[in-house]
Symmetry: C2
């Protein structure tokens, strides 16, 4: 059950359980039931070349799945920055409640490593063609259409032919200054609050945190404007940022994302939009794009 | 500006500022500009009888605005629980990332103080009539209509005549066991993640955190199922929960909420749906209900 069960109610539930044992009823499935019983074929392993592993000096690990299909130049930059040791001495220097945590070098004039494109194009949208979108089936306030493509939440226009990654909880984007600057990739942010979809198509998203977001979401909030830490002593040091494929094979973490084109995901999506089980009595009949977290699991 | 400004870009911006001084351009307004210049008539003071002040033992203060117009019996219970000292020895005992922080006595059989209705009705919706809703003007995935009533985000059906408070970041609700239990009010939760709108019409909302949500959102996440803390030593002690009107007059905090029927709010809402300023270059033309945080400010 999802909320509180006072002890007296536990007793009541135990009594009810005896009745259920006597007269078995059809179990109402939850989204978690679908995830825990999905066949192996419903899962896709994330390439080690698309995993960014960020270790904080305090021992916390944050793992980001990169999205080269949506922002190829920015993602290539991030790999070059990691491999070129650009982020030695990087910190988390901004944490704004219900918005973002941001890290990098902050106002540095350190030269870009080789392989970095200093002024990438505005990779805010891409062609819808070739994405193979699974429709959300609910309305979206920010775009004509919404759905899922290869494991990612996307907003799109089937008429105009564009698609973009949606800013959801855990999304990782590239900090930038005013337009036409698109950011190089040295400063990154992760969403730690309600989906700030107004950023869609205004900034480059490069991936999402798939493990350890709580290592960012629990950090103290900065007290300066926009959540910047007031004193450098508050900055949270980052020990290393690596691409998993550059790590020794035995140390690489590995993850699987549910295939959004699978029958399991279709069932999961349907249940997310129509919660109806022992706890939920009034299904909404709809669901917000960012409220359908695509299932991810760590491989042993 | 909203994101990162490397030092070299600051220099660029300074040069651009000189140009702007020579050729003044029309300033593009942001939602914050509307809030900071709204007249006194656009603000309404929250009654001290509708403010719940929760002080953690670590010094953090969380202030909740109660919503008696939506859940009158549950809100009356909460006032009776505070006045009857029910929450002496209460703790925050559950913090689930991207979901809720929950507090109370957890599995206690402590008797209810006088004035508490042990089994309140299911105050999950109320009559739309009498609310005077301002329309959101964007689509909503969870209800036929959405908007704002007396400062609150609401979902509603103009055809069927019901309305409910929406589960947004900061919303406070009443923990319950399985239906038809509606919860008495002893166990409360606050949303600390993406709006869990699937809970709408399935649980009683009684208000929202209007100050100090970061004191909950930064707490360590519980490692047991549903974010419960594993050891009682991890529970976060609550020093007191009081209704502001019961506090000495000189100690009461006081807040103003923007009148959602005011011209200022109409302008704010329009800009939230159409961000277009020095940073935002592609306005969405729509906005999610929970992404229009109704402005709140503390009175001196």
């Amino acid at each position: 059950m999802w909320f509180i069960a006072p002890m007296r109610t536990f007793l009541l539930t135990a009594a009810a359980a005896l009745l259920v044992a006597a007269v078995p009823a059809k179990k109402l499935l939850t989204p978690n039931d679908i995830v825990s019983t999905a066949p192996a074929s419903a899962w896709k392993t994330v390439s080690a070349d698309d995993l960014m592993v960020m270790d904080l000096a305090n021992g916390g690990r944050i793992v980001v799945q990169l999205a080269p299909a949506f922002a190829p130049v920015h993602v290539a930059n991030i790999k070059a920055l990691a491999r070129g040791k650009y982020w030695d001495d990087a910190t988390v220097y901004r944490v704004q409640d219900n918005y973002v945590a941001q890290w990098g070098l902050n106002e540095s004039d350190k030269p870009w490593p080789s392989g970095v494109t200093a002024k990438p194009p505005a990779e805010y949208t891409r062609a819808l063609k070739g994405l193979g979108v699974i429709r959300l089936g609910s309305s979206d306030a920010y775009a004509p259409n919404a759905g899922f493509a290869d494991g990612w939440p996307v907003a799109y226009s089937s008429k105009q032919g564009w698609a973009d990654l949606a800013h959801c909880y855990g999304s990782v984007g590239v900090g930038r200054d005013l337009s036409p600057d698109t950011g190089t990739g040295g400063e990154l942010y992760a969403v730690i609050g309600n989906a700030p979809r107004q950023l869609d198509r205004n900034i480059a998203l490069v991936g999402r945190v798939i493990d350890g977001i709580d290592k960012l979401s629990t950090l103290p909030r900065g007290t300066e404007a926009l959540g910047f830490y007031k004193d450098k002593a508050q900055y949270v040091p980052i020990a290393s940022i690596r691409i998993a494929s550059d790590m020794p094979a035995g140390e690489r973490p590995s993850y699987e994302v549910m295939d959004t084109a699978s029958a399991s995901f279709a069932e999961y999506l349907k249940l997310r939009a129509n919660r109806h089980d022992d706890f939920y009595i009034r299904p909404a009949g709809g669901v917000d794009l960012c409220n359908v977290q695509v299932p991810v699991r760590k491989k042993a």
